[in-house]
Symmetry: C2
Subunit: 84 residues, 2 copies
Amino acid sequence: MPTAPRVIVEVMLKPEILDPQGRAIIGALGRLGITDVVDVRQGKRFEITLDGALADASLDDLHRVAAELLSNPVIEDYELRIEA
Amino acid sequence: MPTAPRVIVEVMLKPEILDPQGRAIIGALGRLGITDVVDVRQGKRFEITLDGALADASLDDLHRVAAELLSNPVIEDYELRIEA
């Protein structure tokens, strides 16, 4: 039985954008005595399960969704990949 | 020159926990005419950059951080992996 294809979209702030959540985590780590962490970036991860096979049209749609709905292209980059 | 090791922590709601953000995204997709998506789950992704090599002690620390600081073990699962 073929499993439904799953698409993973990862959205992270662009490298040049300051990440206050990440900075807060570095601060918390320091207070826990963990000082070998030099950077933390926090982003979003979406697991999208499709009904049936992944058509080219669907993939184009998903790229549009990732670029316009799941991320803010002004400050974020996304990566989209297909899991079998 | 060796690059600093990077640790990726992915935090997702446990499968049995309802994901209202994911449901909202499915609704938005339907209004855009994309109807072949059966499930969307939204989670968090952390990119942690370390200073120098990754010692076993650091890895234990990072698992503790992922389990207690970056995720809520009551409702979330985490995955931790090392990128070269």
